[in-house]
């Protein structure tokens, strides 16, 4: 189906790229650099995707001492987060930025030094910039600077090049019914919406499972024989699915209940994953925390939180109707529960080896519209949290909110490439220097200092492409 084999593409094209030289821009653009040896750490990277374009200026508005506050207030009336009175923004240490009042959990993590924000972050490629949700989400997740390439996501390339041990039960999970684009093409990942749902248990009870003592062959175990061939995409998908179901079958993902489900999962530290809105997000975070505690070798996780496309009736925290605030509360409380749960595990503070990066496809326009909402913009806020995060700081260079500072006169400009933030996590937390393999087309990496960990010289994309790009 593809014009070229993607395995050959990933493994062999570096030679082609070098041979093709500067004349073959298209091939050079897609070609990965030679892989550097990597030894994966035991860390887990959780990527939370806020689908629909989260309004970063409402999550992290300028505070009272901010030089951008006046421009912000001039642009935002119906969607403004105030600094005093009902719904006042929460002050943050070490910065003039403030936090949405419903983000109390995130604020506590920030003040404790476990969370950080990166302002004016986003996608510097492709150019021209796109304001389509679906294109921008796809671009971010495939991570090749625009387009879907050969259908392999950046997390897949990271895992392939990340030096994982020989046997890892579950290197990656995509939480949802459909695999996130960032994990497409991966044989490491399981995609599931809900751990407790993800099991085959619906055949007639008396023929559900094997009963070897009585010679009985159950329905579930016969499924493998139906899908035994590996001839087509579909058969392979069936086997991957049945193997995934079998792998997770020993795990009880239902909540602990002393009387009815004593083997269920009991979060620690009083973590409360029950969210007033977006309940599925809380459940998925709980499932991920459980899998991390079970030592399944989880290295990469994707989770979605949708409903951020607030063209109309975004709400503000002074009102009883506050759509955006409800969203923020789900995000903040969910991540806070996740942090609490994993940092109080019986085996120690597991958040020391868990990093969470919260991204969205783009930000929203600085000037609100007349429907109490905001339209598609560009630069946005990336939220980072984890035990090994240099938190309590806001990172990034802010271009400003005055009209002359805005991208195309309308949007927060992008000064930090999202790939820079993720690359730092890949190197310092995941032990993988092959960032230019994970992100073909990206160059010039330097750490912002968000994550703790050792620096490794990144893979040598720069040297190859300096000529190619500048000559083209």
């Amino acid at each position: 189906m593809n014009a070229f084999n993607r395995r050959d593409f990933l493994k062999g094209c570096c030679v082609t790229a070098l041979a093709a030289g500067t004349g073959s821009r298209a091939r050079a653009y897609f070609a990965p650099p030679p892989l550097l040896p990597a030894t994966a750490t035991d860390d887990t990277l959780v990527v939370v995707f806020l689908r629909g374009a989260m309004d970063g200026l409402s999550l992290l508005p300028p505070g009272s001492a901010s030089p951008y506050r006046a421009d912000y207030e001039a642009s935002r009336t119906n969607t403004r987060v105030p600094l005093s009175g009902t719904g006042a923004a929460l002050a943050l240490a070490n910065t003039t930025w403030a936090l949405h009042p419903r983000a109390t959990g995130l604020r506590a993590l920030y003040q404790a030094g476990h969370a950080a924000f990166v302002v004016a972050a986003g996608q510097v490629q492709p150019n021209p910039v796109v304001r389509s949700h679906f294109e921008a989400q796809s671009n971010l997740e495939f991570g090749i600077g625009g387009g879907g390439g050969n259908g392999i996501g950046w997390l897949t390339r990271h895992l392939v090049s990340g030096g994982l041990p020989a046997n890892v039960p579950l290197p990656a999970a995509s939480m949802g019914s459909i695999t996130a684009n960032s994990l497409l093409g991966s044989s490491d990942a399981i995609t599931m919406n809900s751990g407790s749902d993800f099991r085959l248990d619906t055949f007639h009870w008396s023929w559900q499972n094997d009963d070897a003592a009585h010679g009985l062959v159950g329905g579930v175990s016969r499924m493998n024989a139906l899908w035994g061939s590996n001839a087509t995409l579909l058969e392979r998908a069936g086997m991957e699915t049945l193997d995934s179901l079998a792998l997770l079958r020993p795990i009880d993902f239902n909540p602990y209940d002393a009387a009815n489900n004593p083997d269920g999962y009991q979060p620690t530290g009083g973590a409360n994953y029950t969210l007033a809105n977006n309940g599925g997000f809380g459940t998925q975070l709980r499932n991920v925390a459980q899998m991390i505690k079970l030592n399944l070798g989880l290295r990469a996780v994707t989770i979605d939180l949708g409903n951020w496309d607030t063209h109309v009736g975004q709400g503000n925290p002074t009102q009883s109707y506050d759509w955006f605030g409800n969203q923020v509360e789900s995000l903040s409380q969910g991540l806070s529960a996740f942090y609490t749960d994993l940092s109080t595990a019986a085996s120690g503070n597991l958040m020391q080896r868990v990093s969470v990066i919260v991204v969205s496809e783009f930000g929203r326009r600085v000037l609100e519209n007349s429907d109490g909402g905001t339209d598609h913009g560009y630069g946005n806020v990336i939220t980072v949290l984890g035990g090994a995060v240099n938190g309590g700081h806001v990172y990034g260079t802010y271009p400003g909110l005055a009209s002359g500072d805005l991208y195309e006169g309308n949007d927060v400009a992008v000064t930090t490439d999202y790939r820079q933030v993720i690359s730092e996590a890949l190197i310092r937390r995941m032990g993988n220097p092959n960032i230019y393999y994970a992100f073909p087309g990206y160059s010039g990496y330097a750490p912002l200092g968000i994550f703790q960990g050792a620096d490794l010289p990144p893979s040598g994309f720069d040297q190859i492409f300096k000529n190619g790009f500048e000559a083209a």
């Binding site: 189906m1 593809n2 084999n5 993607r6 150019n127 021209p128 796109v130 304001r131 679906f134 392999i152 392939v160 041990p165 046997n167 890892v168 039960p169 579950l170 290197p171 019914s177 459909i178 695999t179 093409g185 991966s186 044989s187 490491d188 399981i190 995609t191 599931m192 919406n193 749902d197 619906t202 055949f203 007639h204 009585h214 010679g215 329905g219 016969r222 024989a225 139906l226 035994g228 590996n230 001839a231 995409l233 579909l234 998908a237 069936g238 991957e240 699915t241 193997d243 179901l245 079998a246 079970l294 030592n295 070798g297 949708g306 409903n307 063209h311 007349s370 429907d371 598609h376 195309e408």
Partner: protein, 613 residues
């Protein structure tokens, strides 16, 4: 260094230490099932969707599987009566299906009537009044219009003889995707399906485009109702271009001065005007201005006193009367509502729209990857016929008669929703889904809940881009796993109350099997599984046939007649003689035989052959 003392106490202590360490680190999973293990390096190999060696069902079955909501034996019997060769029958079948009014659909109509729906015939004004009267007092009543639309759609997919029509209705709902359970739009949903989509399923795209725009459900989905002069809301305009007409394949991003950019190609349109072939963000903003004033009466403060609350209206005073420029074409000042109709004309006749929609149609019917030559040929037809009242029927016929459609197989998989409907059609389920808010757990509730868990409840995709349509998406372990979980359960669900044995099954496996084999001596495992293979798959592929057969017969011979009349269950039916736990010999095959047949058929439903199309 001194060697460690090898005392029993030391060994015991060491074992405890090891146990403690490994209890903390060893995962509870089977290492042989690890996702990363020797031989698996993290990257899936490229595989063909459909290799040459794939055995496939007969042509008629293949065509019917791809062009209906699911193949059933009754479809094949009807098909066989249509002519003397497969090709002639196919010609006749397509022609007949493209004229749905000529197909008697009284059985489906009776089902719909028996469901007792109360909201589906209401006018926009009546639905509006009902929504306002209910307010926040009763969520079930408020959302009943979308709940009934969902059930009625399932009933039609299951029971209508106008199968191609239902396939295309589903296609257009995915194309003009509206999340049905929007709190404001859900109560107004029925006219979107009834008046905007269904009358135009085989008709004219231009007509359907404007009809969807004017529908309250779409107005709320994409915020057009509140887009006024001076403050246009660009949400609808963007998706109109990206999702409904030109497609992202014709999007050039943010470009300054696009009309002076030589890298953006143009063409001469049907009115002799220059148009750009690709759109940029400026076109989105200008299109939003073009459509200001298109709204729903009473949906905003400005329209609170207008007539016909809930109906579409164009409000001149809210329309931006200034000059606009879209795709290189000028809209002179004072165009009024004609601005909008011109925009719809421009988009509907645009060659980019033709290519985008032809591509989606080809991928829906044929496979995820189709030759662009076919797409372009279908697009040319779509473009040439853009003003024809049967434009879409012509394009669909072209695709269904293409060589790629007629010879291909297995280049597509059934999505979760298609799998479920297909399974219920193949098993001739007696099932009329209806909404319900009692405490009873009905089969409708179970089916919809499980379909939602599998990722494809109808009218439930939250974003305006519609459900995906690729093997890559639906073969995700999450979607496929929950589909494999749902399919066997269909055979265990009871009428009225899903888990209550007192009610008949929605699929009468026992009755249908006994009916097919009136002579008890013929009820061998081999015959019975062969029969159900034909019913579900249209042929008897291996290893699927053998797997189901071996499961069904357990340790009986394939040629032994099995007792399909009595079963050993605990709900008052006759009991088999014998003891369940007696082992050996030859007793297991007698126990719970009817339940076991349901599981064997469930295995057929869970086979790759059933999910392939």
């Amino acid at each position: 260094m001194a060697s460690a003392p090898a005392s029993a106490a030391f060994n015991a202590a060491r074992r405890r230490l090891f146990d403690a360490v490994f209890a903390a680190v060893a995962p509870p999973t089977d290492p042989l099932l690890s996702r990363r293990r020797p031989g698996r390096d993290g990257l899936l190999d490229d595989l063909p969707a459909s290799p040459e060696s794939l055995t496939s069902p007969p042509p008629a079955v293949r065509w019917l599987v791809r062009a209906t909501c699911g193949y059933s034996t009754l479809d094949l019997i009807a098909f066989d009566a249509l002519g003397s060769t497969d090709d002639a029958r196919w010609q006749a079948w397509v022609a007949r299906q493209l004229a749905p009014a000529t197909i008697d659909d009284s059985a489906c109509s009776s089902r719909l009537a028996s469901a007792g729906f109360t909201t589906l015939d209401k006018t926009p004004e009546q639905l509006w009044a009902a929504r306002e009267a209910i307010g926040n007092s009763n969520y079930y009543q408020r959302m009943l219009p979308i709940a009934e639309t969902e059930c009625a759609t399932l009933i039609r997919q299951l029971h209508s003889q106008r199968q191609l029509f239902e396939v295309m209705a589903s296609f257009w709902h995915d194309h003009f995707s509206v999340f049905g359970w929007d709190y404001d739009g859900g109560p107004l949903f029925p006219p979107f399906d009834r008046d905007a989509i269904r009358p135009n399923v085989f008709g004219n795209f231009r007509t359907m485009l404007q009809a969807t725009c004017e529908s309250a459900a779409m107005m709320y989905m994409l915020d057009l109702y509140t887009s006024y002069s001076g403050h246009p809301n660009e949400n609808y305009a963007r998706e109109l271009m990206e999702l409904h007409t030109l497609g992202a394949e014709n999007y050039a991003g943010i470009v300054d001065d696009p009309d002076d950019d030589p890298s953006l190609p143009t063409y001469i349109d049907w009115q002799g005007k220059i148009q750009r072939l690709q759109y940029v963000d400026d076109d989105v903003y200008e299109a939003a201005r073009v459509l200001t004033g298109w709204t729903i009466s009473h949906s905003t403060y400005e329209t609170r006193n207008d007539p016909n609350p809930g109906a579409f209206e164009y409000v001149q005073a809210l329309h931006d009367a200034g000059v606009k420029r879209v795709l290189h074409r000028n809209f002179s000042a004072g165009g009024g509502q004609n601005d909008g109709t011109l925009l719809f004309d421009m988009l509907a006749q645009h060659p980019g729209t033709a290519h985008f929609i032809a591509g989606k149609l080809c991928r829906r019917f044929i496979g995820d990857v189709v030759p662009d030559s076919l797409v372009q040929a279908a697009a040319d037809l779509f473009h040439q016929q853009w003003q024809a009242p049967d434009q879409i029927a012509q394009v669909v016929a072209f695709i269904l008669h293409s060589n790629e459609f007629k010879t291909g197989w297995g280049t597509k998989m059934k999505s979760p929703a298609r799998s479920v409907v297909s399974a219920l059609r193949a098993t001739l389920a007696n099932f009329t889904p209806v909404p319900d808010n009692s405490s009873t757990y009905t089969p409708t509730e179970e089916l919809i809940g499980r379909l939602q868990a599998a990722g494809q409840r109808l009218f439930y995709w939250p974003a305006p881009n519609g459900y995906p349509d690729t093997i890559t998406a639906w073969s995700s372990t999450g979607a496929l796993g929950l589909t494999l979980k749902l399919l066997p359960r269909l055979l265990e669900m009871h009428q009225t109350e899903s888990y209550n044995n007192a009610y008949p099954f929605i699929v009468d496996v026992q009755g249908q099997t006994l009916g097919a084999f009136p002579n008890a001596a013929d009820r061998t495992a081999s015959n019975v599984i062969g029969y159900w293979c034909d019913r579900l798959l249209g042929y008897r592929p291996q290893p699927t046939f053998g797997v189901a057969l071996d499961f069904f017969r357990q340790e009986a011979a394939a040629s032994d007649p099995l007792d399909l009349v009595t079963d050993s269950t605990d709900n008052g039916q006759p009991q088999h003689v014998g003891v369940w736990h007696l082992n050996p010999p030859n007793t297991l095959s007698k126990h719970y035989t009817i339940a076991r047949l349901r599981v064997a058929i469930g295995l057929l439903l869970c086979s790759p052959e059933f999910l392939r199309r």
